[in-house]
């Protein structure tokens, strides 16, 4: 039995093929592209909002994408408990739609940053992380606006509800400023919504899921999602 990954393609998405490749070729599940002008999710079990520069990100990252027809369906899907993973630009879009709280600011350095970073897995009890055995993951970031910001009250709530899933850290798991690449509050690299079915993360797990590239720490996220869905399908 295969589950179906639906990968949304906005004009300007550029990590769509990468996510598709991981779903289809690395973990051998079904995978379809979902065109932004459509509103049919084609029976997808999980939706990925991929990285890139949707609509050029000329206004504000993710700000235009939220108005595309496909997003109406994605929001409904998420509201009904469907699993949604937003990576990089996808995370930014999730913030714009309000599916996740907070906003993105430009990186503190004001520069685009592409490099491998270490992530402390802060919460392993999510459907995105429950099959991850490591405490620290090495996964690349590639963004100009990944400086996560929210007011103190929101940050407190995120902490109280265990919504912070990944934090930038040292290889040993220290989550200090020194290991924060972009200035994000609480070193936040990824958060889930209260229900735990929507994850937004700035690092790119699809870029560290292929042994050919000598990086495989991201694959656990796809495995967790897949296993969770499969076990639910069996229960039903």
């Amino acid at each position: 039995m295969k589950i179906k990954y639906g990968i949304v393609v906005f004009p300007g998405s550029n990590c769509d093929h990468d996510a598709y490749y991981v779903a289809k070729k690395i973990i051998n599940e079904d995978s379809v592209f979902l065109w932004h002008k459509e509103n049919d999710l084609q029976g997808s079990d999980v939706i990925i909002l991929p990285g890139g520069f949707s609509y050029g990100d000329y206004l504000r990252t993710g700000a235009i994408a939220k108005f595309s027809p496909i997003m109406d369906s994605v929001i409904k899907f998420a509201t009904n408990g469907g699993i949604v993973l937003g990576i990089c630009n996808g995370f930014q879009i999730l913030l714009e739609t309000g599916l996740l709280p907070g906003v993105m600011l430009k990186n503190e350095s004001l520069k685009f940053i592409c490099k491998d970073v270490y992530l402390k897995v802060e919460n392993k009890n999510t459907i995105f992380t429950n099959k991850i055995s490591e405490d620290i993951l090495k996964i690349p970031i590639a963004h100009g606006e990944g400086n996560y910001f929210a007011d103190d009250k929101t940050l407190e709530e995120l902490q109280e509800n265990n919504q912070i899933v990944f934090q930038y850290s040292s290889p040993e798991g220290e989550t200090t400023d020194k290991f924060n690449p972009n200035g994000s509050k609480l070193n936040i690299a990824g958060i889930v919504n209260k229900n735990g079915n929507v994850l937004g993360m700035m690092p790119h797990p699809e870029r560290s899921s292929d042994s050919v590239l000598h990086k495989t720490d991201g694959i656990g996220i796809f495995r967790s999602i897949t296993e969770t869905i499969k076990s639910k399908l069996i229960e039903v």
């Binding site: 300007g12 093929h17 592409c114 690349p140 590239l213």
Partner: protein
């Protein structure tokens, strides 16, 4: 609006010579009108016509069994890599625009070269760039450097192509006139490539992509003159890039090619509609009628002259198949792009352009273009006086450096040698998940998902060597780029080149150009790497300086098996370190001479091309046999720099070394000599004999230098450098200089 009267003065203002203006009148049998003059002036500009270079370029080796299209025949070179696949690649300069407007100048340089790749039907898989600036203590240089890097980053990152390799050099000669060369590599199915041709009477001519504005008018002419105080006023000649639209254009273009809806397609770069219409027509022995009223415009009231000369970015000219118009338009509409039919192909060598029912230009396409009727000049050459002067430099007269540690630290932290991480971390080097080896090693290696192989690629040129000895310096540029590809596990396949020189009308400049071309030709023949195309950029001069002649070589190679992929850094403790090749204490043009004595003098290092080829052949054999743990070529900074880089280039997994560097005559010279055809490799102990066996009987010397391990680099039992210190020198120099 009344058009200016066309006179000799006006022609001269357009950059044409008196002879050229006479020739135009003779060919037309009349005086050209204003629009026609504009079209001629851009098409016969150096930038479009290659009038002062094409005769020499034709002497380069441009054939090979794997070459699918020859140099200059299409938008980019195309090499067969087997399995029904081909790689398209090309390098191009955007020097002048970047000198006045670094961000947009560099960004549109990237945009232009990417379009050249995908108009071949190839999906871009990698971008590279080769950059030259003045010295970082100059604030304007820092402004240019910062802007150029950001321009390249923003365009490539948004477009979604990984920027994987390149080089950055700093030298005062580039101060007023930085060199910004962008290269792109793409992959195509051999049965699905496209051509830049217009043929078939009545086939529709379509303009697609962005609308046409007044930006970039006379960009090609601007690129064909020296930079001066007046250049600042040419800022409006710089185009503005829109990587988002380009990304859409990429997807739409590949879709119409895949669906077999078109006859031909060409990017609109320099000289915009003028160039694409005339070149495509000439190539198909056809002509075109074009109605400018159909061209989507950004602003009203644009004259025919302005529309024909606009260099607005992210546009393409498409010749569709008759009857497929609607399908083509549907594809572009899907991607929210303009697609307008603006004319049709005719069976007659005429470019007939009308606006508001009036004929604005009626010209022979053949007469306008390179390879057709554009002028071809053989310029005068004269060996510059400085060459003999610098060759006389007496190295034995220089005092021997006593404090080797201090000298090495200076060299290792010089911006030319130090890590360019500050630059490449701003580039998305990983998108498309094929980057096996990214920036910071010898050549980059990008996997081909379609066949499980990989492409190795690199640009190289040491401008100092070329300045001191144009012929040999260019041979070295070819040799080094090939060596880098081999060090990464690839077999060099072909070359693209970007020739950055001064004013070709100066005989001394032209002599260096001619020598460089001849050097490139001889080296490419030896390495069997045909020249698939490229770009010539003359007039790289500013009131202060004339750039070092800088013929940048972009080399691509094929990695047959991913297990062959090799990187520069040491892999484990206890491996043996070997030097392949031999030192001759050659200090001419070295980083040592520059950093320690502030001199660029002497002669470029010697290079024996046959010996170099043998080194590369045997090294590749050793890599393919699986015994090579790391391979790193020795270049700027010499052997000590190369070994130190192998210790720390993977900053998270540093491994020290204890080595003995043989000293010929002088310690300083032996440590910092830049003799060619040398590579540092490491192998595990049990493979020592295998390594010797592979090189046994060859003219390539193999010398054991020492062993890897620990957290220091120890040299000759005398000098010792903690890796922490080396890391700091190597990785923090440029960031520190940029935060000044």
């Amino acid at each position: 609006m009344k058009e200016p009267e066309v006179t000799l003065e006006l022609a001269l203002e357009h950059g044409l010579t008196e002879e050229e203006f006479e020739e135009i009148k003779k060919r037309l049998g009349r005086i050209p009108n204003y629009t026609e003059l504009g079209v001629y002036s851009v098409m016969w500009s150096e930038h479009c016509s290659y009038k002062n270079s094409i005769a020499l370029l034709k002497t380069l080796p441009r054939e090979g069994e794997k070459l699918l299209v020859g140099a200059g025949e299409e938008n980019a070179g195309l090499i067969d890599i087997g399995d029904g696949l081909a790689i398209a690649f090309k390098i191009e300069s955007h020097n002048h625009p970047s000198a006045v407007e670094p961000y947009q100048g560099a960004a549109t340089g990237v945009g232009g070269i990417l379009r050249d790749i995908f108009t071949m039907g190839a999906r871009p898989i990698a971008a590279l760039n080769s950059l030259r600036f003045g010295e970082l203590d100059d604030p304007r240089t820092r402004f240019l450097f910062e802007g150029v890097v950001k321009g390249i980053a923003d365009y490539g990152n948004c477009f979604g192509v990984p920027t994987v390799a390149g080089e950055v050099y700093f030298d005062n000669s580039y101060k007023g006139n930085p060199l910004i060369n962008a290269m792109a590599v793409g992959i195509a199915r051999t049965d699905r490539t496209a051509s830049a041709v217009a043929k078939g009477e009545n086939n529709p001519v379509m303009i697609v992509g962005s609308s046409t504005g007044r930006d970039g008018i006379h960009g090609a002419t601007f690129a064909s003159e020296e930079i001066s105080e007046k250049s600042e006023a040419k800022r409006p000649s710089v185009q503005v890039g829109d990587p988002f639209t380009e990304k859409l254009l990429l997807e739409a273009t590949l879709e119409i090619i895949k669906k077999d809806l078109i006859v031909g397609i060409q990017d609109m770069g320099a000289a915009g509609i003028s160039c694409s219409t005339s070149e495509m027509s000439e190539k198909g022995n056809s002509g075109m009628i074009v109605d400018l009223d159909k061209v989507p415009l950004r602003e009203s009231g644009m004259s025919a002259y302005e529309i024909m000369l606009s260099e607005s970015q992210e546009r393409m000219l498409v010749v569709g198949k008759k009857g497929k118009e609607e399908e083509i338009i549907n594809v572009f509409e899907k991607w929210d792009l303009h697609c307008e039919i603006i004319g049709e192909v005719i069976n007659d060598d005429r470019l007939r352009v009308s606006q508001a029912g009036e004929m604005k230009a009626d010209l022979s396409a053949f007469d306008l273009v390179l390879g057709g009727g554009a002028p071809v000049y053989h310029r005068e050459t004269k060996k510059p006086d400085y060459i003999d002067q610098v060759h006389k430099f007496d190295f034995s007269a220089l005092p021997e450096s006593e404090n080797i540690e201090e000298v090495f630290e200076k060299i290792f932290s010089s911006p030319n040698v130090a890590s360019k991480r500050w630059v490449y971390e701003q580039y998305d080097s990983m998108v498309r998940t094929n980057t096996i080896v990214g920036p910071g090693s010898d050549a980059a290696v990008v996997r081909i998902k379609e066949n499980g192989k990989a492409i190795a690629m690199k640009t190289d040129c040491n401008g100092r060597y070329v300045y001191l000895n144009p012929r040999r310096g260019t041979e070295i540029a070819v040799a080094e780029s090939a060596r880098n590809v081999v060090c990464s596990g690839g077999l060099p396949l072909g070359v693209t080149n970007c020739l950055n020189f001064g004013n070709p009308y100066k005989p001394e400049v032209y002599w260096t150009f001619k020598e460089a071309i001849e050097g490139m030709g001889s080296a490419c023949r030896v390495f069997e790497t045909p020249v698939t195309g490229g770009n010539v950029s003359f007039y790289n001069e500013s009131p202060d300086t004339s750039v070092f002649p800088t013929p940048v070589i972009g080399m691509v190679g094929l990695v047959e098996d991913l297990s062959h992929v090799t990187t520069a850094n040491f892999k484990k403790e206890g491996d043996l370190i070997f030097l392949l090749g031999e030192d001759f204490e050659e200090m001419g043009g070295s980083e040592y001479l520059k950093v320690v004595h502030n001199l660029v003098s002497g002669d470029a290092p010697n290079i024996d091309l046959e010996k170099e080829k043998e080194l590369q052949r045997l090294l590749l054999k050793a890599i393919r046999s699986g015994i090579i743990q790391s391979a790193h070529d020795i270049s700027e900074g010499g052997i000590l720099t190369a070994v130190a880089e192998s210790c720390i280039s993977d900053a998270e997994n540093t491994i020290g070394a204890e080595i003995n560097i043989p000293v010929k005559n002088r310690e300083d010279y032996s440590f910092f000599s830049e003799s060619q055809s040398r590579v540092i490799v490491s192998v595990s102990k049990e493979n020592e004999e295998k390594l010797f066996n592979i090189f046994n009987g060859s003219p390539i010397k193999v010398e054991k230098l020492g062993i890897t391990g620990g957290k220091t680099l120890k040299i000759n039992d005398k000098f010792s450098f903690p890796l922490e210190k080396l890391l700091n020198l190597y990785f923090n120099t440029i960031p520190e200089r940029m935060n000044d």
